[in-house]
């Protein structure tokens, strides 16, 4: 931990793993989907399922999926706000297997698309996104994050990454459809990727889908 992690951060209570961490996971999904989904299902595992009830976890998840920041005072009213904006949501408890005790699986729907993101709140407000759709990863959202669905062809990834002029810190690659030849790539960079680079990536002929999640404003 750094000094600033010890004396902070600013958050809404009651606990960094039950509110701050899960809010950040849900907000990651919000950024990934470029807005509030039409429908969302939260599947809670382990300690989130046991003690999460009534501990504000539900409110933090809803606040995050609606894009609220960690110190937003509307978090405590997020259930009413979700109802007002017509967000259809549900909570379920399920054993997600060998995962961190504070893990949540978020399934969200928007414009006919379905997204699945699984993340763990690993303490002190830190998170680890461990699965995005079928791609397993270890994204802590402290870097600038790009998610790409690409053609799984020789040279594709090199060709695409040529457009990224900043230092790449982590790269995850997973083939999701061998017949259609489709793969998912998650790219984490130290610095923000420039606007023109983003445009170039989006136009690249190997890129089928492109999501610019960015870096969490609440990460120090």
């Amino acid at each position: 931990m750094s000094l600033l992690d010890v004396v902070g951060p600013v958050m809404v209570g009651p606990s960094s793993s039950h509110t701050l961490g899960v809010l950040r996971i849900a907000r990651f999904v919000h950024k990934f989907m470029k807005g509030v989904p039409e429908k969302v299902k939260f599947v809670l595992h382990g300690s989130l399922a046991d003690t999460g009830f009534g501990h504000g976890t539900d409110k933090a998840l809803l606040a995050g999926i609606m894009g609220m920041r960690a110190d937003d005072e509307r978090i405590r009213d997020s259930i009413e706000i979700a109802k007002n904006v017509g967000l259809r949501y549900s909570f379920e408890i399920e054993d997600l297997g060998e995962v961190h005790p504070n893990t949540v699986l978020i399934i969200a729907w928007k414009n006919g698309k379905k997204v699945e993101v699984q993340g763990s709140s690993i303490g002190g407000g830190k998170i680890e996104i461990n699965r995005i759709n079928d791609c397993e990863c270890q994204v802590n959202w402290e870097y600038h994050t790009l998610i790409l669905v690409i053609k799984d062809l020789p040279g594709a990834i090199g060709n695409i990454l040529e457009n990224v002029s900043v230092n790449i810190s982590n790269l995850y690659l997973k083939r999701i459809d061998a017949i259609e030849r489709i793969a998912v790539a998650i790219v984490e960079t130290d610095e923000e990727v420039k606007e023109e680079c983003l445009e170039a990536i989006e136009k690249n002929s190997y890129v089928l889908e492109f999501y610019h999640v960015g870096r969490d404003e609440d990460a120090l």
Binding site: M1, S2, L3, L4, D5, V6, V7, G8, P9, V10, M11, V12, G13, P14, S15, S16, T19, L20, L44, D50, T51, F53, G54, H55, G56, D58, K59, D71, E73, I75, R76, F91, E92, I93, G123, G124, G125, L220
Partner: protein, 301 residues
């Protein structure tokens, strides 16, 4: 600059090292910020600005929540800050009364999903702001003085985090509320003396008095006993700081007390580390309260 390296090449961190730098004529807050810059690469000016932000939120929330009734998640707490604020203290000084009220109020605001600074955690969020606010109100402390004392408190908490833990789940409540009390004590001593060595004595005395404190929240809610522990711990911070100001020294140096705290934490059974399965949490009354809550299905998904 002379830092000690352990055999793995990882920089060790002792409060004593900070004090030694101070003895070479440097200012303690500068020494601490420089260390953070070395570790994270974040420039000192930016760090200072971040610290000011946190300090401002602490003071703002202290003013806003002072003596306010709160509707907490489990409703086991919510009136304590209000009652304390409306009580004329018979024994506590005005300073301590204000600090106690702030500590209770902020801990209750945390339990009601209010905005807090997790210093060092949400459960212990009332203690450090309580002494900052009391210094501002009763000593007319300037923002600069408060900031420097806050950085020293942060450095001291950082040493605890590096050599032990600040998480109740790992080390019990002594690691959370105990750390906050040690930080608040150091903060007060630094404000009055600007001497790192005396801060270490104040902090050591505070942490020693909290050694062995278990984490046993009823129903897993950060309310009982957490809220009142904030109110008590701030008084331990104040009295241990007062002792340090009087020239009383801790026989056992601060860094050794931290190691002792860690050893105690590791020997606590899991039932006494935030699981809600021991201590206060398993008393007959606590069980009854939790059963009632479940019966009313107030917390069904």
């Amino acid at each position: 600059m002379c830092w000690n390296f352990t055999m793995w090449g990882v920089m060790r961190m002792r409060f004593e090292d900070f004090i030694n730098e101070e003895k070479r004529g440097r200012k303690l807050p500068d020494v601490i910020l420089e260390r953070e810059m070395r570790e994270t690469g974040v420039p000192i000016e930016l760090l200072r600005r971040e610290m000011v932000k946190l300090l401002n939120v602490m003071l703002e929330e202290s003013t806003k929540q002072y003596g306010k009734r709160q509707r907490t998640l489990s409703e086991m707490a919510g009136e304590n800050g209000y009652l304390m604020a409306n009580h004329r203290a018979k024994m506590l000084s005005e300073f301590s009364h204000t600090a106690t009220t702030v500590a209770l109020s902020l801990a209750e605001s945390n339990a009601a999903m209010g905005r807090v600074v997790a210093c060092p955690t949400g459960g212990a969020c009332g203690i450090v702001p309580a002494v900052l606010y009391a210094l501002k109100v009763h000593m007319n402390a300037s923002m600069d003085e408060l900031l420097n004392a806050f950085i020293v408190a942060g450095g001291l908490g950082w040493v605890i985090e590096k050599n032990a833990t600040i998480s109740g789940a790992e080390g019990g409540c002594q690691a959370e509320i105990g750390t906050a009390a040690a930080m608040a004590s150091a903060l007060l001593v630094y404000y009055f003396t600007h001497q790192g060595e005396r801060c270490a004595h104040g902090a050591a005395i505070a942490l020693k008095s909290m050694l062995g404190l278990v984490c046993d929240p009823v129903g897993g809610f950060v309310e009982v006993p957490c809220v009142k522990r904030n109110g008590i711990a701030v008084n331990i911070a104040i009295s241990s700081a007062e002792m340090a100001l009087a020239g009383i020294e801790s026989v056992i140096p601060f860094d050794e007390v931290v190691e002792a705290m860690y050893r105690v934490g590791r020997s606590l059974p899991e039932s006494l580390r935030e699981t809600g399965m021991g201590g206060i949490a398993t008393t007959p009354t606590a069980r009854k309260i939790v059963m009632e809550m479940k019966k009313h299905k107030k917390f069904k998904w």
